[in-house]
Amino acid sequence: MEMNDFKSSDPIAWCSRCGNFGILTSLKGALVKLGKQPKDILLVSGIGQAAKMPHYVKANCFNGLHGRALPAAFGAKTANKDLTVVVTTGDGDCYGEGGNHLIHNIRRNPDITVIVCDNQIYALTKGQASPTTDEGIVTKVQTEGVILEHLSPLSLALAVGAGFVARGFSQETDHLADLILSGINYKGFALIDVLQPCVTFNKKNTYEWYSQRVYKLDASYKSTDLSIAFQKSLEWGDRIPIGILYNVSKPTYEQKAGP
């Protein structure tokens, strides 16, 4: 397979320099390496800028409702095991509107990969705070700055029992492609939170801001220790780790539910 095999004819409706472009490149790169035919891949999304991504890939696409990508993906994967199911979602879609589904689909552990394009802002609705917006950021709604605590999605996923938890950065496309491929090859629910600059509405967490802070977990990092993974998942500020924080084998929904 080549990048061109996954090329969609649909024109892209993101802002130029949007962090999503890097994620799209990484996703296609991972699919090329995966080697499956487009017809055997299903991309599921909800609503938001990230939810448009399936249209920009030549693969099956189910673009459903805001926050509801995970239940639809669970249903599709369970009904048709031939499909490799990847969800492209955002911080608002997955951690806000769809928070309940995130918790319970981690518990179900279907064999799906969830890429959260986390730009720490609501972009499609023009700049309101999302669950991952840093405290103090001023928006048209949060006029005195965000007062809610910043959600740590990777800690949440680990607490609920996720077996594969990773973080990528949209500028590090090769690194991210590897993460996505690892997530797809992981048997079970794989969560990949991707730091993604929003060039229009998030003036704090920019390419430069992330670039100065992110560092890659190296070969010495042990991704099978839950307490270390917890510590890493909470590391946010001057240094932000990217890579696979946690990777352990767990029985999938399919295995648990029987034939």
């Binding site: 649909d10 409706a13 487009p38 017809k39 055997d40 891949i41 299903l42 599921v44 609503i47 448009k52 399936p54 249209h55 030549k58 693969a59 099956n60 696409c61 189910f62 673009n63 459903g64 409702l65 509801r68 995970l70 239940p71 639809a72 993906a73 669970f74 249903g75 599709a76 994967k77 369970t78 009904a79 048709n80 031939d82 499909l83 309940n100 589904h101 918790i103 319970h104 179900r108 539910a257 029987g258 034939p259």
Partner: protein, 576 residues
Amino acid sequence: MANEISIRITGEAGQGTQTIGDALSQVFKSAGYHLFAYQDFMSRIRGGNNFFEIRVSIKPVHSPRHKPDIIICLDKSSVDIQKKDLAIDGILVVDKTKFGMAGLEESMYDVAFNEIALRVANDTLYSNSIACGLIAGIVGLDFTFVTQGIQEVFSHKSKEIIQNNVNSARAGFELGLANPHKEMFLLPTVGKDRLAAVPGVILLDGSTAIALGAIKAGCKFYTAYPMSPSTNIMNIVAGRAAVEHIVVEQAEDEIAAVNMAIGASFAGSRAMTSTSGGGFCLMVEGLSLAAMTETPLVMVDAQRPGPATGFPTRTEQADLDFVISAGHGEFARVVYSPGSAQQAYFITIKAFNIAEKYQIPVLILTDQHLQDSITDIPALDQGTAAIERFIISKEESANITSYKRYALTDSGISPRAIPSWIQDVMYVDSDEHDESGHITEDAAMRKQMVQKRLHKKLHGLLNELEQPTSFNIDDAQVILLGFGSTLGILQEAAQALEKRKVGFVHLSQVWPFPSDEMLKLLSNARMIISIENNAQGQLARLLRRETGIKVSKSILKYDGRPFDVDSVIEIIKPEL
């Protein structure tokens, strides 16, 4: 000697009113009688006051009577609560010692359930079988039927437990035979022909009917969030899931349930979800999604009284307006309103076929009364219902290299492929989309897609209508009108008043509204009376909106309880 008898078993939740009721239902079925049983229970697991009422007759029966002839009280408080409901000349069976009652009123009949159970089987639990045997004795059944009924109900229990139950029933039976009111309650003997037909008779309730219909229709993905009175459908499907290879998943909420079902249906499974009104509120966005993405979906709304939490375990028909118009935007849907368990079975199968043929959401509107009521019917003919998938077959799919999910056609129906079966990919979107499924904001395309999803599909659906049932309407003085679970009431009231020119029309499909047929049936009616379990006469309003026909009167009941046929007849009589 009466041709029928109604028996109410009442006590606290957890005392086994349903166990006795189920056993008695089996006993009477074995003996060849027709029966209608319904349940009235509170939203609690223990305590309170529940009842199970069973009406037994030599003729088919479909609805509750106003007053039971025999009330068996399993606890003291039932006596005070239920006494007022007893028929004139009826008896109230009590356990004087256990209840600590000083004296007995004339209508009371003392049976020492506890003492007998301890003596015969060394456990007061067996009081239930004593009650079952007692009733059989009072109405003059052959004890063989009691043994058969008990064996059927307790088939999964040990031999010892079955024997203890039979022995207990025997003790109750002897008491029943000797009871002082015996002549009053003897039932006529069932004819040989009917007895010979018993092996082909089954007992069916609405929940089981829908579950069996779904399984028969090839439903392979069932998801729901538990909510009375819909939960039993999920319980029954789950009980057979392993054998039938059905995925049954309890969702984290109704929003998840409906979206999971849509995802599964999109990917190739027949999928279904069920709930009650409150849960349906949460599913409405999903209903709209199924319509927009043209994904087949079967949904059940087993109504209970609202608004909000309402009466969790009681009955109402107040979601009619809601379900026919639920969901933002305009799209085609079908809403069925089966009137009996038997109808519910066949309509459920049809619901799956129509959902897939038209690629639309199909709703089955039922209610607690239908879900929990049991009747005897001829065994469901498993052969008559065919499954039609209306999808591009796997063989055909292998040759498809170019595919548009929303290809425009005259019928509004695009050939439906399953992802991974065809060689091409497909795009499905909740946004407005073009024929390829990609997002569009084009005005002309928008118009074509609305016509596809709404006008064209509705046009086809008018040829698929489940037509209303009617009886005795030519030259009728009064035509009774209803939908859903009131079918039994309409049937029995019209039959009782047949000679006084009373007929009925019942709708088992309320959307699309069968306007042409209703105009034929009702245009010349002298007087139409709608009978509805809601406070506004929603069906009467719908009839007027769709056909211009006005009903003369509505008999409305919105206290959370079902109609009884006697009360309805009394209300109709002055109009004749």
